[in-house]
């Protein structure tokens, strides 16, 4: 059972929900995995307090030009659709942050002047969370533009999950490629949103991604009670279940800012999340999206 927690934009309480869900589950330590795939701004560790035991680099392959063999023919620059390699004056320059590691330049160089080298763009970390379950996260180096390879490797590193395992994924915010990669393969998608016009807009965008995978979706409204009804009306009309409502509440805002999960603040959330999980497992809640 893989549950991805996502939201159309950052700062909606996605990590609060994901970490609270993981901490609520009474699953044997080794059978529960938490993956923080929000590699640009991972902060689930503040809530789960893992003890990192393993770390490894994430590298992508980028071209390296042997200027001595290079004839400055320009073929590499011509084939690179990302303009990540260019012939400038008397040398060929590679721009690692633009490179998508497609390998075309190496393949097309008539002189065999290009080889590939490893460029480290981030790290993966793994170790037990404070509650004992297995915790994984990817962290992208500051200034790196490409999160996708890190999310992909993070999922590979965590391994194929089997039926008995429960995996909670904190997906990157938005609807970009890294988010799609994180959500891909999930059995259930929890979308966290706020009851505002912006929240509704972002929810609709996230649903477009859900539609690609036709996975069941449930909505969680955070900061409920702001007075805007648009999200409720939209969900009612679209047949989407609103699974949990987290009220706009000062203790919650202050608690989560200090790294406390919902169940640390209000213990009743433990039962709420356990029920949510039970129902998800039985497909009792959530809506196929798009609806058949």
């Amino acid at each position: 059972m893989i549950i991805a927690v996502a939201s159309g934009k950052g700062g909606t309480g996605k990590t609060t929900v994901a970490t609270s869900l993981a901490r609520s589950l009474d699953v044997q330590g080794a059978s529960l995995l938490f993956l923080d795939a929000d590699v640009e701004a991972p902060n689930s560790h503040l809530f789960l307090k893992p003890e990192i035991e393993h770390t490894r680099d994430v590298g992508v392959r980028i071209p390296e030009v042997n200027q001595e063999i290079c004839s400055l023919c320009g073929k590499c620059a011509e084939v690179c659709q990302y303009h990540a390699i260019a012939v400038l004056g008397k040398k060929v320059l590679v721009f690692p942050q633009l490179c998508h590691s497609c390998g075309s330049c190496t393949l097309m160089c008539p002189e065999g002047a290009i080889s590939e080298k490893q460029n480290v763009i981030g790290v993966l970390e793994h170790g037990p969370a404070q509650d004992g379950f297995r915790y994984f996260r990817g962290v992208m180096n500051v200034g790196e533009p490409m999160a996708l390879p890190i999310v992909r490797l993070l999922k590979q590193w965590a391994g194929e999950s089997d039926e008995s395992q429960v995996v909670v994924i904190d997906a990157p915010p938005g609807t970009s490629c890294p988010m799609v990669e994180a959500v891909c393969g999930a059995d259930f998608l929890l979308l966290v949103t706020e009851p505002t016009p912006f929240g509704l807009h972002d929810l609709k965008l996230a649903l477009q991604i859900a539609a690609k995978f036709t996975i069941p979706v449930g909505v969680i409204i955070n900061r409920d009670g702001l007075g805007y009804q648009g999200v409720d009306e939209f969900c009612a009309e679209a047949g989407l279940s609103i699974i949990i409502r987290i009220p706009f509440d000062r203790s919650i805002a202050e608690g989560t800012a200090r790294g406390r999960t919902l169940l640390d603040i209000y213990p009743s959330y433990k039962t709420a999340f356990q029920n949510l999980f039970k129902e998800i497992s039985n497909y009792g809640v959530g809506s196929r999206w798009p609806r058949p």
């Binding site: 990302y82 303009h83 400038l88 004056g89 320059l93 942050q97 633009l98 533009p145």
Partner: protein
């Protein structure tokens, strides 16, 4: 001296374009004769790496200097490698002609580092 200036349209009397990689046009001017030639900026339509694409094009024209409102890190590195000096507009410039005038007076500032953080992948 041959200089290249980022422009919003195809003439020496066109307004300047503050962007380098994504300016509409690049105008090559001979500072003595004021002969000029306008080129479409191939970086403008690039989905990514506009600065590099524009810089590579500029390097092919082999000017002594290039003048624009902003050079991101990739464009900066590329032009530096091609040994082309970079200058930025001052507040007195509006048309390409006025840029040439300011440049000849020595009133434009040479750039020795990227002038913006740039937009990765865009």
């Amino acid at each position: 001296m041959k200089i290249i200036i980022s422009a919003a349209a195809e003439s020496i009397d066109a307004e300047v374009d503050q962007r380098f990689g994504r300016s509409a046009n690049l105008i090559l001017v001979d500072t003595e004769s004021l002969d000029w030639e306008s080129f479409r900026n191939p970086g403008m339509a690039a989905s990514g790496g506009a600065g590099v694409k524009a810089a590579q094009f500029v390097a092919g024209l082999d000017p002594d200097a290039v003048i624009s409102g902003d050079f991101g890190p990739n464009a900066y590195e590329a032009l530096l490698a091609a040994d082309i000096s970079m200058y930025i507009f001052n507040e007195r410039v509006n048309t390409i002609r006025s840029v040439v005038k300011e440049f000849k007076k020595g009133d434009l500032i040479a750039v020795s580092s990227p002038t913006s953080a740039g937009k990765h992948g865009s």
